[in-house]
Amino acid sequence: MKITVIKKAVVNAKPSGYCPVYVDDFPATKK
């Protein structure tokens, strides 16, 4: 029974980016 927590749950996690798939964007917001 081994658990390594890489990242804990975030309440109200925000989207990480603008449109990383289609629009050419500059990184603005980090999740």
Binding site: M1, K2, I3, T4, V5, I6, K7, K8, A9, V10, V11, N12, A13, K14, P15, S16, G17, Y18, C19, P20, V21, Y22, V23, D24, D25, F26, P27, A28, T29, K31
Partner: protein, 476 residues
């Protein structure tokens, strides 16, 4: 209790472990296989449901899984949490995002874009006037006063935004003063092809909040010059690199690139080239994306041009992007598009190559929901029209308002249409909904004719998740 529908698992057999991620809580764990199997036990945290007695060790593991959202009361609870999350994204007032198109004109004649400096396009493409810019400034100031957000993100976009420097300078200075008045820091970025990105431009913008520029390189020198030439066919790679050398260190630089099957093989050479540059350490993001062709090659227009939107038999676009520089809006793999699948696989290859060369790049899992689902993210076209997303700026019928407050039935109808958007409701129990929200609405509109129908790149998400899992494990 039961496993959340937003759980994702990547088995790591060589370690007898499993990488777990929950897309709604963004929790990430690496667990032994026996812990992962607890998620499959019905009534996991209550031994009365299973008739099995949980050991203290199992109960401790179950508690961690529950705390991080991997175990939930029932499916209805998951659905409620998803609804709450989408509402939060939509109504969040902590950020005001403005994407401002100074012009739809462009000085490039990209091989894959029928807009730009082809024919007489630039002669008729919209360009924001000083008078309109003044009204736009007033409208944005009003939004800053009304929302008092924690962050104000302003992106200049086009067309090629540097073809209208007076408007960019005027609005940057005005909005920097306005953001100071309300106590909200402004962060400006420019999405440009890089040809006109001089030190003078950057030096002028930095004091007013310029944080970074994003430029596009479509492969190594020869490939880029083929894909992104000037109207007369001259290459643009050397000039862009020269500009990057001169502005590096003054602001952040992000590199993008648009690849298709003919150009993808040249990207490793581009990455090698970038690694050797002195500005390599200043690159804050390197991200390559596929040019997705539409699946009806017989209907394409001019020979040799990969259309980004469907075109009719006469070669004219059915639903044009109108000059907005969006490089790929085809639909995804949901309809078993082999081309898309190939491009998804190539995107995975390029993401791994980008990491291998030591550049930061998006993990491909943490994506949306994008601005189209946010009430306080606005795109403003050159004439002051408001849009939910830059992809619709060429289609006046999709304008959802105007900065002068005019009331028009067509804009109101469009506003309501966007307000009701929820394509993810057709995605079933897909675990990627919180980071995808049904895919690109522009792609749904242009290729499927309905914004509320999801476009799916699940295959791309899956491969990105595997890369994320192995990268995470190697870093821990």
């Amino acid at each position: 209790m039961q496993a959340s529908m937003f759980n994702l698992r990547v088995p790591l057999p060589e370690r007898d472990e499993v990488f777990l991620m929950n897309t709604l809580t963004d929790a990430q764990l690496v667990v032994s296989s026996d812990v992962a199997s607890l998620l499959d036990r019905p009534g996991s945290t209550d031994s009365r449901d299973t008739g099995e007695a949980s050991t203290p060790e199992e109960l401790a593991a179950l508690a961690v899984l529950t705390e991080n959202g991997f175990l939930v009361q029932d499916r209805a609870a998951d659905r409620r949490r998803l609804d709450d999350y989408m509402t939060m994204v939509k109504t969040d007032t902590s950020e005001l995002n403005i994407t401002l198109l100074t012009t739809l004109q462009c000085n490039f004649a990209c091989d894959y874009c029928f807009q730009g400096d082809h024919g007489d396009y630039n002669k008729f493409a919209d360009k924001m006037s000083a008078a309109t810019a003044a009204k736009v400034g007033e409208w944005i100031e009003g939004e800053l006063e009304r929302l008092r957000p924690e962050k104000f993100l302003l992106t200049f976009f086009g067309g090629e935004p540097l073809l209208n420097l007076p408007v960019m300078y005027e609005l940057s200075e005005r909005l920097w003063r306005a953001s100071n008045r309300v106590g909200t820091p402004v962060s400006i970025s420019i999405i440009t092809n890089g040809l006109l990105l001089t030190e003078e431009v950057v030096d002028r913008m930095v004091p007013f909040g310029l944080r970074g520029v994003k430029i596009t390189l479509d492969g190594d020198r020869a490939t880029h010059d083929r894909m992104r030439p000037l109207r007369g066919g001259q290459g643009t790679f050397d000039r862009i690199i020269q500009n990057l050398r001169r502005v590096s260190g003054k602001c952040g630089i992000a590199i993008g690139g648009n690849f298709d099957e003919s150009s993808v093989d040249s990207y490793p050479a581009l990455l090698e080239f970038l690694r050797e540059q002195e500005f390599a350490e200043h690159l804050v993001k390197v991200n390559f994306k596929p040019i997705v062709r539409n699946p009806e090659p017989a209907a394409l227009g001019a020979k040799g041009i990969l259309s980004l939107t469907p075109v009719g038999a006469d070669g004219r676009p059915i639903k044009p992007l109108g000059g907005t520089c969006m490089t790929s809006v085809g639909d995804g793999g949901a309809t078993a598009c082999d081309t898309c699948h190939t491009l998804d696989d190539q995107m995975t290859f390029l993401r791994d190559e980008t990491r291998r060369h030591g550049f930061p790049t998006p993990d491909g899992v943490h994506n949306g929901p994008c601005h189209v689902h946010m009430a306080h993210a606005h795109t403003i076209g050159p004439d002051g029209s408001l849009y939910a997303c830059p992809g619709f700026t060429g289609e006046k019928s999709k304008s959802i308002g105007h900065i002068d407050g005019r009331l028009e039935q067509r804009r109101e109808e469009a506003r309501l249409e966007f307000d009701r958007l929820s394509p993810w409701t057709d995605c079933g129990d897909c675990a990627y909904i919180p980071v995808c929200a049904g895919g690109c609405v522009v792609a749904s509109h242009t290729t499927l004719g309905d914004m509320n129908v999801p476009t799916c790149h699940k295959r791309s998400f899956d491969s990105a998740l595997i890369s994320l899992a192995y990268e995470t494990v190697s870093a821990n």
